[in-house]
Structure formats: structure tokens, C-alpha cells
Symmetry: C2
């Protein structure tokens, strides 16, 4: 799309992940929902951190991971999100800019510190997240650069943005600007508990304001309070132009009007950490769309990106996804 500066503009919580290993017994003792993201306050975040072993810090955030993945694939990417002017804020800013993403949201100069998510990786590679939103609560409509939205083919929003108080206004403003300019709006449902917290809003968004929807099996079931995957699939059909549903090792299902594609997952050697799998899938899928690939190919690229990310600790790619996709699909 020659009249755009960016293929995708992501808007999301700007978070630094703190990754540690944890046994299932620890999750149970602490009353943590395995596989989910829970919001915690500063005190609880500190209390849990004190109880876990040595950790590694990497930049994270759902939409930010997707945007980093898109840049790694060779896409033109921008991001809007709020950090503070502290050390972890510098880490977040460095990492997203280092991969080639335009990121100009000013850091907060007071208020809570940069957001962190304590990501507990279980022996079976499942991750459980405890997120302290920190400076993300300061993201608001004033942080939305309308020119940037207008210059982006797709504006991509994470459902988690519904959690901090002012971000949903930023979210709605961005969606309105995008649509007014004839651009597309994409949403990821983020997490089944997040869907629970905001079901009515999400149902309204999905039927009226979202063109491209991403969800995993648990999230789409939660949205429609369905009994099983196929029931949720039937419920969502027709609500958005494109719906991409991920199912872990079972691959993904894409629905668009009368089209339905069922695409197998990309093979992996060893599963290490599922953090960021859905984010990477969305990166690959959106990159495919930006190249005007057919939907089946978009899903393939999504699966390849996800397979890279789940084979190491951390939510962002360890090596250039562009080279990986070229090697896998053979279109150098």
C-alpha cells in the first residue's frame, strides 16, 4: 500500500517481562491460574518476585511483541505505549527501536515505574503471567498520534488495553481515526480472563469496530461463552472481515466470509516457553496480509513465527524471522 508509511501500528501495554522457572506446585500454593494473565498491584508483584528463583529480563507486552515480530519479518512497524523514564523503560525503548520499530510515545516523568510482568514458565513450557501495569495506566488519548494512525494500513490493538483506565479511550480514538481514513482495525482478545472482565465491550467491538480479529481457542470460547471451539467458531463467523483463531499444537483456523482455512502448526524440535506464541502468530499473519498473501499463506507465516518463539525463553524472536520464513517457504 504505497500511500502508507507503516504496515502495522500497534497500540498496547509497554511491559518488561521478568522470566523465571516455576513448578506447578508453586503456582498452586500461590493460587495462580496456570496459563492466564492476572493483574497484580506493586506490593503483590514484589511479594511474588521475592519468592521466585533467578530471573531474566526481556522486553515484552503483547502488541509490542507482535510489532517486534512484524519488524523482524521485514514489515514497516510502529508502536504506541507508555513507559516511565527509568531503567526498565530504557530497556523497553531500546529493544523495540533496535529492531526497527518507530516508537515515539514520550515516557512518563513521574508516577508509577515501567510495567513488569512476572512470567512463570512451567516445566511443560506453559507460562503464567502476573502483570503490574505501572506506567501503562498513564496511556491516554493524547498519546495517539493521529497522523501515524492515518499513515498505517492496519492499527493493531491488544485486548489488555481495556485494563488500564484511560487506554480504552486511546483505543477507541485510534480505531475511529483509522476507519475515517479507510484503514483496517485489528484486535487481539489477549486472554480468556481479560475477555471475562470486558466481555460486553469486546462483543460490541468485534461486531462493530474490528476488521481483523485474533483469538485463541480459550478466548473465543470465553467471548461467546460457548461450550466448545466449533460453537464459538460459528458464533464469530460474519462478525469481522477476517477472524484468525489459534489452537496451539493444533494449528490455526481462519474464517473470512465464506472462506475457511484450517492450517497445521509448524513443526518444532522442542517446546521451551509458550510466552508470546499468539503474539508471534499475529505478527506473521499481519505481515502476510501486508504482502497481500492469501489467507492460508498468512496463517502459515503466523505458524512459522510462533514456532520460533516457543523454542526458547522469551516472547520475542531470537533470530531474524525474515530469514526463517524465507528458508521455510522457499521464496527468497
Amino acid at each position: 500500500m504505497s500511500d502508507t508509511r507503516f504496515d502495522v501500528l500497534g497500540i498496547g501495554n509497554a511491559i518488561v517481562d521478568i522470566l523465571a522457572h516455576a513448578e506447578d506446585e508453586f503456582l498452586a500454593t500461590e493460587g495462580l491460574d496456570k496459563g492466564a494473565m492476572a493483574l497484580v498491584d506493586s506490593e503483590r508483584a514484589g511479594e511474588l518476585y521475592a519468592k521466585v528463583g533467578s530471573a531474566v529480563e526481556c522486553s515484552g507486552g503483547s502488541a509490542a511483541n507482535t510489532i517486534a515480530g512484524l519488524a523482524s519479518l521485514g514489515g514497516r512497524a510502529a508502536f504506541i505505549g507508555k513507559v516511565r523514564d527509568d531503567q526498565l523503560g530504557q530497556v523497553f525503548r531500546h529493544d523495540i527501536k533496535a529492531i526497527g520499530v518507530a516508537f515515539d510515545t514520550p515516557a512518563a516523568t513521574d508516577g508509577p515505574p515501567t510495567a513488569t510482568s512476572l512470567v512463570l514458565v512451567s516445566p511443560d513450557a506453559e507460562r503464567t503471567m502476573q502483570t503490574y501495569l505501572g506506567a501503562c495506566v498513564d496511556l491516554g488519548p493524547d498519546d495517539i498520534d493521529e497522523d501515524q494512525v492515518a499513515a498505517s494500513a492496519i492499527t493493531y490493538l491488544e485486548g489488555y488495553l481495556w485494563d488500564p483506565p484511560a487506554a480504552k479511550q486511546a483505543f477507541r480514538k485510534a480505531a475511529d481515526v483509522a476507519h475515517a481514513k479507510g484503514r483496517k482495525v485489528s484486535l487481539s482478545l489477549s486472554d480468556p480472563f481479560c475477555v471475562d472482565r470486558h466481555r460486553e465491550d469486546f462483543l460490541e467491538l468485534v461486531s462493530g469496530h474490528v476488521d481483523i480479529l485474533f483469538a485463541n481457542e480459550e478466548e473465543i470460547i470465553s467471548l461467546y461463552q460457548a461450550d466448545e471451539f466449533d460453537a464459538a467458531l460459528q458464533a464469530v463467523r460474519g462478525h469481522c472481515d477476517i477472524v484468525a483463531l489459534t489452537r496451539g499444537a493444533k494449528g490455526s483456523v481462519v474464517v473470512a466470509g465464506d472462506e475457511v482455512h484450517v492450517v497445521d502448526a509448524d513443526p518444532i524440535e522442542r517446546l521451551v516457553d509458550t510466552t508470546g506464541a499468539g503474539d508471534a502468530y499475529a505478527a506473521g499473519f499481519l505481515f502476510g496480509l501486508s504482502q497481500e498473501d492469501d489467507l492460508s499463506q498468512c496463517a502459515h507465516i503466523g505458524n512459522i513465527a510462533a514456532s520460533e518463539v516457543i523454542q526458547h525463553m522469551g516472547a520475542r524472536p531470537d533470530r531474524p524471522l525474515k530469514e526463517l520464513v524465507q528458508a521455510r517457504l522457499g521464496d527468497a
Copy 2:
């Protein structure tokens, strides 16, 4: 040793590593000595950081890595080092305490931030470090807890401590207290350029104040300005009770009086990042000494610990070294 509270007390620079991949070409363009540690100021650290790709942050510091490794092996460990009361200082404190190390040095409440080392990992797994000493310059003799030194069988010091201005006084104070109590003093030479900077001091230390010396091939050659490994080996013989020399894939050589042991490296599956190899070797060796193992066995445990650390990114063990050593040596 029943009258001690700690097997090893480590004293060193408290550093958070920032790990990024870098091609050899980048090192050359920036004029960086591949494989070495160079000291940089805050400005140069920021300039280099801005030029490298996405990074991962993990706790580091040479003696701190050794002490973390010792704790991971099941040893009783303590550490003295200086961080600031900032986010990276919290990361350092969390990680060393989480592995069971006693760490009570108060954080600096003003002055420079917690030290960072930009660790550039080359495709061949060699690491090149650019260290900003930050709050480490505030470590001084007042930070040495004499009771803790007196209660430690071995006080372990890194040569890098000769770089910040006041730390060498801390170093000498600790060595004097240890010897007055009949304890052992151990030194790691740290880096060939560090040896270059402080050769006279190190020669005097090695012949008069150190009981157990660790060095790699380049460091011991640098210390004696020798032409080759064997010449350096002959030069150091008799200067310390125990000298443990590491040679990468060639394993290690241990010299103690008339005893000489040449011990092969532990086999590995894939070499990923050599950061912390020497630190982990020292951890294993000192752990063996604390169990009164013979010197050959001490070297074996050192090699096993090193082999774990070089097979993943980051300088500290990813899994409990105690279990690994038991599995490898069969003495559960």
C-alpha cells in the same frame, strides 16, 4: 569445616549483564577487542547500547557468578558487592538472594547507577564485554564485614576489583582478615587486559597473599609475559598452594606443590555463549575443595559447571548444578 558459616565469600563487582548478539564485523568497526572486557564510561556505554539489537538482561559480575554457581552446587555462599537502589540493583539483589546467597551489602542511595556490562556474543559463542562500573566505584573497605570474612573458609576475590578506585583497599582488608583467622584467600585474574593494567600488584598478590589462584591461559601468560602456556605454568609453580588454569576446550591444568593434574573438558552438545565459563569453573572447583575432594575431582566439577553455562545465553546456571554434577559423577 564446622567452625565456618560459609564455604566461600565472594567479593566482586555487582553487575547486570545486557546480552546481545553481534557479528565480528561490528566488533571490528567499533574497535572492540574480541573476547576481552573493556571499561567504558556512561556515555560510551549508552552509545554502544544504542547500536546493538534487542537484548536480554541477567545478573552477572565475575565473582558474583562464581558465588551463584557455588550456591547452585549446594555450597554455603556469601557475596559482597555494591549496587545502587535502582531497578537493576533490585534485579541483581533478587537473583543472588534467590539462589540462596547471603548478600547484605547496602545499596548506594546516590551516585552512579548499578553497573552494567554490555556482553556482545559472536556467532562463534565468544563474548566481548564493555563494562560501565557505575555504583561499583562506591565499594570500599567499610563494606567488608569482618565477621563474615572470618566465618568463611575461603574468601574469593576477582581481579576486576582492581579497577574501581577504593575496591582494592576492600580487597586487601578482606585478605588480611581472612589470613589472620587462618582462612584461605583465592583470586581470579579475570581478564588478560585487567592483568596488563595491574601486573605489578597481581604479581605481588600471587606470590604473597593468595592461596588459590584461578586464571585462564591468556591471563597467566599475560601475568608472566610468557611466550606460551607451559612457560607461564612453570613460572607460577610454587607461588600459590593451588593454581587452577583453564584452557577452554582443552580442559584445565591444576598445579599444587609437586602435584600436577591435566583434566579434560566436559563434553557439550552445542556451544552457545562462553560468558561465565571461567566463573562457573571456579565455582565447581571451590565447591570440590569445600567437600575436601581431591584436586582432580575439583577440576572435574569445575568443568561440569562450565559446560552447563556455555550451552545457553547468560553467565549463570539455568538449572541446578547440584543435580547435574550428581548425574555426571554418579555420587547422589
